[in-house]
């Protein structure tokens, strides 16, 4: 339930909630099969990307989403045609979930002409307008007011579209975030800000970066509604995020949502994650939404190991093909560096 501004604090963010195994956390067999496959597609895509990075095929920064996939998958199913999603630099999952071709995504990481943005942006600057992914922003927090601008435009034109703006817990301290939230609240813009709280701002835990434990307490100061929960399943995430989007769409009410989640990999490929111990990571693995969905498929729907294996093989084949496409694609033409700097008016 989306709470009004004031409300009690919920779970302690540094320890995972032990999710219930009751069926209410899961959807139908068809839902779970679809969600499992989509989460697996993101995970296998990123594992392929990580391998390519290790082989020196990809350079720059590569921030993996592994562990957080359920959020992108739930978001995809909530989008209506005029909605747009603005995210930061941990964005591969959104692109894959929203329908961007894995080959184009991989080619972007490879810096190839066939990439999502022609090899101009790289991992941190994914934009796929056709699939409602409006960035792709790598300066922490500077997309927060831009996303408010998308919502402003919808309201200005009287359109029904909602903007969903994802940011990390590491973007909560910086100024542009608060100026964006101020204007969203002041002008009652149809926007949902979703803080993906994966507990670490790079290597710094929340306790050393944000003065309150519950980030949604900040909503009160911006006249935003608020919602906060740990992501343990696509079903629950979809239901609760969907309610936030309904408020934004139907009442033009900005909402601040905090999703407590966990990334199993480092902040980027260069981060071995020495600031957290194995026990902590293992505890979170037990509430990994993808793993739990797989278990539900076995337990609730009687899906066999062979069937699960077959899904995985299909997904791996799809991502192998994406890698092949990226490797065989041409580099951008030399003159491409001059393109799209200014529009010809």
């Amino acid at each position: 339930m989306v709470l009004p501004c004031a409300g009690p604090m919920t779970s302690h963010a540094s320890e995972p909630v032990a999710p219930g195994d009751d069926n209410a956390h899961f959807g139908s067999k068809e839902d779970n099969l679809r969600w499992y496959r989509e989460m697996l597609r993101i995970r296998r895509f990123e594992e392929s990307a990580a391998q390519a990075y290790t082989r020196g095929k990809i350079s720059g920064f590569l921030h993996l989403y592994i562990g957080q996939e359920a959020i992108a998958v739930a978001t995809k199913e909530l989008l209506q045609p005029h909605d747009q999603v603005v995210a930061a630099y941990r964005t591969h999952g959104f692109a894959i979930a929203f329908g961007s071709a894995p080959g184009a995504c991989m080619a972007e990481l490879y810096g190839k002409a066939t990439g999502l943005v022609g090899g101009i942006g790289g991992s941190m600057h994914f934009f796929d307008r056709k699939h409602q992914l409006w960035g792709g922003y790598a300066i922490v927090g500077n997309h927060v007011p831009v996303a408010a601008g998308h919502a402003f435009a919808a309201k200005y034109r009287g359109e029904s579209g909602v903007t969903l703006c994802f940011l990390g817990d590491g973007a909560v301290a910086i100024g542009p975030t608060h100026e964006g939230w101020t204007l969203a609240g002041l002008w009652k813009l149809p926007i949902v800000y979703v803080v993906e709280n994966n507990l670490y701002s790079m290597g710094t835990p929340l306790s050393r970066s944000i003065p309150v434990e519950d980030i949604t307490l900040k909503a009160a100061g911006y006249n935003m509604a608020r919602e906060r929960f740990q992501v343990t399943s696509v079903a629950e995430t979809k239901a609760r995020l969907g309610e936030a989007m309904r408020l934004a769409r139907e009442e033009s009410r900005p909402v601040l949502v905090e999703l407590i989640t966990y990334r199993f990999r480092g902040h980027s490929m260069s981060d071995p994650g020495k600031y957290r111990d194995k026990d902590e990571v293992e505890a979170w693995r037990r509430s990994d939404p993808m793993e739990r969905t797989m278990q539900a498929l076995r337990r609730l729907h009687g899906i066999s190991e062979e069937e699960l294996e077959a899904i995985d093989e299909e997904v791996i084949a799809e991502m192998d093909e994406a890698v092949r496409f990226a490797e065989e694609s041409p580099a951008p033409a030399p003159e491409a560096r001059f393109h799209n700097i200014l529009a010809e008016s």
Binding site: I120, V144, A147, E179, L183, N340, A343
Partner: protein
């Protein structure tokens, strides 16, 4: 022709474009109910309403970002900075979003937005409120930078800026908002990227823009009294620069002075001089000189400020030097 103040030329340009195009709107601090800190938006709220003339809180990063986000959706925001000194806190939005989004998205999005407001020193405002921002913005590929010095140029160029598909930084002058100039009754546009010869001459080229223009013209008058015929070129657009206009003049006069409001180090003046020496080196009969701020933060005290600012007398001294007259 009507004789109007620059502030009214700016207001009329905004009003005409808002009337013409529903996508155009104005936002900034005090632009609505207060009618603009410098009255450049006088009457616009009354005419167009709160939907299209938006007072913002003091949150430049916030409203610059909202403007960029709205522009990506196809609206055409005009964002007023009460002074460009305050654009410093929105610099990241202009540098990393407005200037980069078209490129970074491989052309999926454009950012048709105008950032406008007064630039450079006014009178006794101290170091934080007296800065010229064109070097910061003209440095950036992906931006258009315009600086205007007459009512005619302000109206014609602002209308072009609002219609342009690109992000435009539009620099005005607090000291010059009351300066009157003739403006045609009928609609006109001035193309972006074209310099204007504000005074023709044959002995020396004075390249200038914005608040430097009236100073350069007075220097030319003083020089004329000594028999030196100076040509004054107002760049009007700083990026992209009308290099051809500069070179054509320098090839004729063989001597050049760059006169502007701003610091010498790494500024637009350096770019002008680099273009001249790269492309017209053999045409030069003297080193190109700069007349601009001294390389210090602007002091408040009147006597000290006057020492730092470019003046007609300093302009004359430079003109004498490059023409080897003492």
């Amino acid at each position: 022709m009507a004789l109007i103040q620059i502030r009214h030329a700016i207001r009329d340009a905004i009003a005409e474009e808002m009337a013409r195009d529903e996508r155009v709107f104005l936002m900034g601090e005090e632009v609505g109910h207060y009618n603009g800190a410098y009255k450049c938006s006088e009457g616009l709220l009354e005419r167009f309403g709160e939907r299209r003339v938006l007072d913002t809180p003091i949150a430049e990063t916030g409203f610059a970002g909202v403007g960029i986000g709205a522009a990506m959706c196809g609206l055409r925001p005009i964002v007023e900075f009460m002074t460009f000194n305050f654009s410093a806190v929105a610099f990241d939005q202009i540098l990393n979003n407005a200037a980069k989004i078209r490129h970074m998205t491989n052309g999926q999005f454009s950012v048709p937005i105008v950032f406008r407001g007064p630039n450079a020193a006014a009178h006794m405002l101290g170091s934080t409120h007296s800065q010229a921002f064109e070097p910061f913005y003209a440095h950036v590929p992906g931006l258009i930078v315009i600086a205007v010095a007459t009512a005619y140029d302000a109206k014609g160029l602002l209308k072009s800026a609002i219609r342009d598909e690109n992000p435009v930084v539009f620099l005005e002058s607090e000291l010059m908002y009351s300066v009157k100039g003739e403006v045609p009754e009928e609609e006109y546009l001035i193309p972006i990227g074209k310099a204007d010869i504000k005074r023709p001459g044959k002995d020396v080229t004075v390249i200038t823009w914005g608040q430097g223009v009236p100073v350069a013209l007075r220097s030319a008058e003083l020089a004329a009294a000594e028999g030196i015929d100076a040509e004054v070129i107002d760049l009007r657009t700083l990026r992209p620069m009308d290099t051809e206009a500069v070179l054509t003049s320098v090839r004729k006069t063989n001597r050049a002075v760059v006169l502007f409001h701003g610091w010498p180090y790494g500024g637009v003046g350096c770019e002008v001089i680099a273009q001249i020496q790269e492309q017209a080196f053999d045409d030069l009969d003297a080193p190109v000189l700069r007349v601009c701020y001294e390389d210090v933060p602007m002091p408040y005290a009147e006597n000290l400020e006057n020492l730092v600012l470019p003046t007609a007398e300093r302009g004359l001294a430079a003109i004498r030097a490059v023409t080897y007259r003492r």
